[in-house]
């Protein structure tokens, strides 16, 4: 419609406040959610500038510092060799900088979790909206498919797939191939959660009188889906996407921990935890990647909960 471009012309305009603007105002008052949000932003910035930051501190994540480590007893110094150069200490045996590895691990975790969530949101929204809007046998079939995916032993499947997948595929190989594989495996098995929510919402929105009003004006189905229903789905999609990200982070960590994630020496949080298990006498080595996973997952969950409350104040509390 031409309205948007004409808004600026009128000098006597009364500007309305949209539901998203109201939700944003509400969110700004929620300190806990904001803290989560700030941590997420901080983490993303740190992950992006990881090479720059580690250049100042302990150097790249895969640089060996055998001079800092006693081959038998572990790192020299207290708490795993904490120093200005190595704020989180160094690894036993190799002497790799843990701070640097945690930062680079954040890159992998966020990249995989965000892209996998994007994959699941896209598939989930398309399937959910189709299922909810058309109903009937379309809904029956798609709902059964969603049930099937939810009942699938994902972890076993992922482990098996990592074992049998060729070294080269789709013109990719090595780490990029593994990365793509992980994103699609994780994304492909978490879409039914979004799909079910979108389906339920669509069924309820489909019956609203404004959809009937649009039909009585001669609107076609694409218009109703795009203009009447989809804008009302954005809030729940955003909220549940935010709540799926931490699940995906944990899933990626679990896969890396089990050795079917990215191959070493790539730094991942799950992989670091897995390495740390052998050195259970040196708990600091397990502490930092564990803390990173814990804090990130918690930040996303708090932010997601706050987002949900902001969009729908009647929920929760």
């Amino acid at each position: 419609m031409a309205s948007a471009s004409l808004v600026a012309e009128s000098d006597k305009e009364i500007q309305g406040r949209s539901l998203s603007q109201i939700a944003w105002r509400r969110l700004r008052k929620d300190k806990v959610a904001l803290a989560g949000g700030f941590f997420i932003v901080f983490l993303i910035v740190v992950a992006i500038f990881a090479p720059l930051i580690t250049h100042i501190t302990g150097g790249p994540p895969n640089e060996y510092h055998s001079d800092l480590v006693d081959p038998a007893l572990g790192p020299y110094g207290t708490f795993g060799g904490i120093s200005w150069q190595h704020p989180m200490g160094v690894e036993p045996i190799t002497g790799r900088d843990i701070f640097s590895r945690v930062l680079y691990g954040a890159r992998i975790s966020l990249l995989i979790a965000l892209l996998a969530t994007a994959v699941s949101v896209i598939i989930g929204t398309v399937v959910g909206i189709t299922s909810g809007f058309f109903g009937g046998w379309v809904d029956a079939i798609l709902s059964r498919i969603m049930d099937m995916f939810l009942a699938f032993p994902v972890l076993v499947f992922a482990i098996a797939l990592a074992g049998v997948f060729p070294e080269k595929a789709f013109g990719l190989s090595g780490t990029p191939l593994k990365l793509t594989l992980l994103i699609f495996v994780i994304g492909f098995f978490s879409w039914p959660y979004i799909g079910r929510i979108v389906r339920g919402q669509t069924i309820s929105l489909r019956e609203r009188e404004y959809v009937e009003a649009a039909r009585s004006l001669g609107a076609k189905r694409p218009y109703i889906l795009r203009t009447e229903i989809l804008p009302n789905l954005m809030a729940p999609i955003l909220v549940y996407a935010t709540l799926i990200i931490p699940t995906n982070i944990l899933f990626e960590a679990a896969l890396s921990f089990l050795g079917v994630g990215l191959p070493p020496p790539t730094a991942t949080w799950g992989g670091m935890l897995s390495d740390a298990v052998i050195y259970y006498t040196l708990p600091h080595f397990m502490f930092w990647p564990g803390l990173a996973i814990f804090a990130t997952v918690m930040a996303f969950n708090l932010f997601g909960d706050g987002l949900r409350d902001a969009f729908d104040p009647r929920s929760g509390r």
Binding site: M1, S3, L6, S18, I141, E212, S216, L217, G218, K220
Partner: protein
């Protein structure tokens, strides 16, 4: 009492042009259950054989209690639903089974006002977008641009045109209903079907909206089909009234005929339930309390559907369905255009005698 002799109603306005809307034998059954694998075995008989005509420029009201099929009738007339059988003729065109594509241009002339002003406006759209949607959907470019046209419409329904960029949640129920009315007026329709347009509003606001609808009718030469359950509102706005019970029309008549000389026991009972503020008048009047609930529309009673709750019901009511006809003889005689579907219509003074 004898069964009154009946004959087919002579068309009251025989000289008049074709009615704007003609509904014949309209039926809508909603199948129950029946999913992916199982077949549906029964159906809700929401509307089961309804006939009426709406003349140009009049307000035709359909009243009845919840679940009697009046809203379904509205949705059939506007073709939001497709009838199971029967025929809806609008302005000479049979629209009962038109495809979406063929129905689209017809929709300019038939518009609908919805019941719930909180659900009928998309909360994510601005008022400008909502009221401008008809132009966009029908590809109409009004003179002076859509924005100006929308602001004119807002003015017509008594809203501030500067509220163009506001969102529905920033308005009260009455204002929202006005926004909905502005949307229905955008395409200059001939017929407006209003599905309980004021029942979701405060009583003080109801009068405003009803008066607005009346003013608009005069100004824009509109024809209304009004669905309602509030009998005092109906009396105020209607020219003719049809009373529905369990998917069938039991009585149709000119407003004053129907309100002053009701013939069908159900109509009589319904009218007697209207609260009367005047205590003196209240004393002279008997309230008829219907016993029991409305039977299920899945398995409605045979023949006359009202016989399970009717104090006048006899054997014939259970076996033979009374046709909707004008009563031309006997004490319960009705005027032209006043038709009743009853074997034992209520006679004038009958109720007063009982008290």
């Amino acid at each position: 009492m004898t069964t009154p002799s009946t004959e087919t109603t002579a068309p009251r306005h025989a000289a008049d042009e074709e009615p704007l809307l003609k509904v014949e034998g309209l039926v809508k059954h909603f199948p129950i259950g029946g999913g992916f694998l199982s077949k549906s075995t029964s159906a809700v008989q929401a509307v089961d054989g309804v006939d009426f005509e709406v003349r140009k420029g009049e307000t035709f009201s359909i009243v009845g209690e919840s679940g009697c099929g009046k809203s379904t009738t509205a949705r059939l007339v506007t073709r939001l639903l497709e009838p199971t059988s029967g025929r809806v003729t609008f302005d000479g065109t049979d629209i009962s089974h038109l495809s979406d594509a063929k129905m689209r241009p017809m929709r300019r002339d038939i518009q609908m006002i919805f019941q719930d002003p909180y659900s009928s406006l998309n909360p994510r759209h601005t008022v400008g977008k909502i009221v401008g949607a008809p132009f966009k959907l029908q590809g109409v470019d009004p003179e002076g641009g859509r924005r100006k046209a929308v602001q004119e419409l807002l003015k017509t329904v008594g809203l501030n045109p500067e509220h163009y960029n506001r969102y529905p949640h920033e308005f009260s129920g009455g204002q929202r209903q006005r926004i909905g009315i502005a949307r229905t007026l955008a395409l200059k329709p001939k017929l407006i079907v209003a599905d309980e347009p004021v029942s979701a509003l405060d009583v003080s606001i109801q009068a405003q909206v009803v008066n607005l609808l009346e003013d608009l009718q005069e100004e824009l030469d509109l024809t209304y089909v009004m669905i309602a359950h509030d009998l005092s509102v109906v009396r105020h706005v209607s020219d003719r009234v049809a009373v529905m019970y369990l998917g069938k029309i039991v009585e149709i008549g000119e407003r004053d005929d129907l309100y002053d000389r009701p013939r069908h026991p159900y109509t009589v009972a319904m009218l007697s339930a209207v609260p009367v503020p005047d205590t003196k008048r209240r004393e002279n009047r008997e309230r008829i309390r219907l016993v029991g609930d409305v039977p299920s529309p899945i398995n409605p009673p045979p023949a006359c559907r009202f016989h399970t709750r009717c104090w006048k019901a006899q054997e014939i009511c259970r076996t033979e369905e009374p046709p909707l006809l004008q009563i031309t003889s006997g004490p319960a005689v009705t005027g032209p255009g006043h038709t009743v579907a009853c074997h034992f219509p209520v006679e004038p003074g009958e109720l007063a005698e009982k008290t």
